[in-house]
């Protein structure tokens, strides 16, 4: 671009005209910031379909909030006033819808792109040959998806606020809680996805038999204690229920004793940490074979 291209390709100089910093500097920087470098890569790749992402992060909440929080809510509020602890149905389901949207996004981001990295387009093997370590590829991937989950959740929260469904001043704190729920579900799933050698439709099964039941039975649309006892365990093991309970406490003052709030947070953190550690070891084993 700066110089005319010589005719015939004959006069093209050997390629080293600029000077990179020495390898020692590359290695030191990669050791320190490698995860961020890989995150940067993933975010740049996401940037190429940013309009799709934006449309779905705006479209999803608007659709759900209208259908459930406006349509269904008029029925519920008329017939079951008081059953939800004195709040409108819209306020009741908004934090649950928000957390479930984050979890669904995490479910997509921690499945197919992982298969793409190991197998379909082998995207992981490029950075693997660079100074980056395998744990940094995992961490970078997770960082980038955390950024994506945060952005999606922020948009969702703004729309929830526009609907007037987050009356409490502490409402904004539902954003990190939802992101944490997304990671609590997503990171163990990441470890599982990384262990899959061949796609035989496992991801579709995960969506159908894990994500969907969690979405329906985690106290999302009705309080968990309206379920028969033998089904409540689904909520107890579900990151969505723990995240939703915390979210309700934050957005409209739903009563959660402090010890229980601590249990909710701890449950989510433990799932996320265990998932990440497991994922790191699967990545190391698979890339370093």
């Amino acid at each position: 671009m700066t110089e005319p291209v010589p005719a015939g390709g004959q006069a093209v100089a050997p390629p080293y005209r600029l000077h990179a910093h020495p390898p020692e500097v590359s290695a030191a920087r990669a050791r320190k910031f490698g995860s961020w470098y890989y995150a940067e890569h993933v975010l740049r790749a996401m940037n190429s379909y940013r309009w799709t992402l934006l449309a779905s992060s705006v479209g999803t909440p608007v659709m759900y909030l209208f259908a459930m929080g406006v349509g269904l809510a008029t029925l519920v509020d008329r017939n079951a006033a008081g059953a939800l602890g004195g709040v409108s149905y819209l306020a009741f389901i908004a934090p649950a819808l928000l957390a479930s949207a984050t979890i669904m996004t995490a479910a997509t981001e921690f499945t197919y792109p992982v298969m793409d990295g190991f197998k379909w387009r082998r995207v992981y093997y490029g950075p693997h040959a660079s100074p980056l370590g395998t744990h940094q590829i995992v961490d970078g991937h997770v960082l980038a998806i955390t950024a994506r989950l945060t952005a999606t959740t922020v948009v969702y929260f703004l729309i929830v606020a526009l609907f007037g469904a987050a009356p409490s001043a502490t409402g904004i704190a539902v954003i990190p809680v939802a992101v944490l729920s997304g990671l609590a579900f997503g990171l163990p799933l990441l470890a599982y996805s990384a262990s899959i050698e061949e796609d035989k439709g496992q991801f579709a099964l995960v969506m159908r038999f894990v994500v969907t039941p969690l979405f329906l039975f985690s106290g999302t649309f009705f309080p968990l204690d309206t379920l028969p006892v033998f089904l409540r365990w689904i909520g107890w093991i579900s990151p969505l229920w723990h995240g939703t309970e915390l979210g309700r406490a934050l957005t409209y003052g739903h009563h959660v004793p402090l010890w229980l709030a601590a249990v909710h947070v701890l449950f989510l953190v433990v799932l996320a940490v265990v998932g990440l550690r497991r994922a790191r070891s699967v990545y190391a084993r698979r890339l370093g074979a």
Partner: protein, 313 residues
């Protein structure tokens, strides 16, 4: 800087092995590569070439033996070793969600290189790879040869002094291969150490100063291409075809002609210093081959001699 004392090898392998369970993918190979040399590993598929490359590249752990790159053990100093290298893997792993130029930028970031260096560098490398007019294109839209050149450009983003090329031209058409060889030759001229694996003898002859012939994880021979041919083969080869039925049966009647006889299912090879003279002898014995060809010995013949098998099956 003094130039007289012999430079220490940039890569040194001693009894290097890699086992997968009972399978010995690499079985005790030793070699040294001095700076600036173009060093080849020649062998058939499954010989252990790629496994060796992955160990040199610091991405695969060895089972036993010693290995140093720039004096560093890749198992202890992975990031430092990989920071010295440019790697062109056997299978392209470009990010197809990114545009051509962005693939270079993103890769350069892995080395912590700043954008102020990477932007002009990416343009320079695209020019070198003859991809300037594809800078904004999607990777999907590139031909096989172009993808390969982009992968090579990507491997040069950190200005490595050592470039690892695993089967750089496999699957490309002849014209694309020649363009690639030209680019690699320029790198060699600029002093970059090239380590390449190939199962193409012409590639090895064109690009390698020195090579090892590898089979079943072991080194069968080592030397410059011309030297290997001199040591393990004759100057010329006479190739005769008698038709697939008769090649082996007729071999008995050819005994004594040339220095060595190699009956293959599809042809008979006669190794001789003078191929034409050998052909005259064949004709004088009353044998009428369907086709005959006199050619120079190649690395293919060396391989056949050393392993009893041909290189490309």
């Amino acid at each position: 800087m003094p130039t007289t004392p012999p430079a220490p090898p940039v890569i040194s392998a001693h009894r290097l092995s890699k086992h997968y369970g009972d399978f010995r993918a690499v079985d005790g190979i030793s070699f040294d590569v001095p700076a600036g040399e173009s060093f080849g590993l020649l062998g058939p598929n499954g010989a252990g070439k790629s496994t060796t490359m992955r160990m040199i590249g610091g991405v695969s752990q060895r089972t036993s033996g010693q290995l140093t790159i720039m004096g560093l053990d890749p198992q202890e100093h992975g990031p430092e070793v990989r920071a010295h290298l440019g790697v062109v893997p056997q299978q392209d792993n470009l990010d197809e969600e990114l545009r051509v130029r962005d693939n270079l930028l993103v890769y350069g970031r892995y080395f912590g290189l700043p954008m102020s260096y990477l932007r002009p560098k990416a343009d320079e490398l695209l020019e070198f790879a003859q991809l300037t007019d594809k800078a904004g294109a999607k990777v999907d839209a590139l031909s096989g040869g172009m993808k390969r050149r982009l992968t090579i450009a990507r491997s040069l983003i950190n200005e490595p002094r050592i470039l690892l090329l695993d089967e750089p031209t496999t699957g490309l058409d002849p014209q694309a291969r020649h363009i690639l060889w030209d680019r690699l030759f320029r790198l060699k001229e600029s002093g970059v150490t090239l380590i390449l694996t190939t199962h193409y003898m012409d590639e090895a002859e064109q690009l390698c100063d020195r090579l090892v012939v590898v089979d079943k994880g072991r080194i069968m021979a080592e030397g410059a291409p011309a030297q290997l041919i001199r040591e393990h083969s004759t100057r010329e080869v006479l190739e005769l075809r008698f038709g697939s039925e008769r090649n082996t049966t007729v071999a008995g009647e050819l005994q004594g002609i040339g220095e060595r006889l190699e009956p293959l299912p599809d042809r008979v090879l006669i190794y001789a210093r003078d191929g034409e003279a050998a052909l005259e002898q064949v004709v004088s014995r009353g044998l009428r081959p369907l086709t005959s060809l006199v050619r120079r010995s190649s690395l293919e013949d060396v391989f056949l001699r050393l392993t009893g098998r041909s290189l490309v099956d």
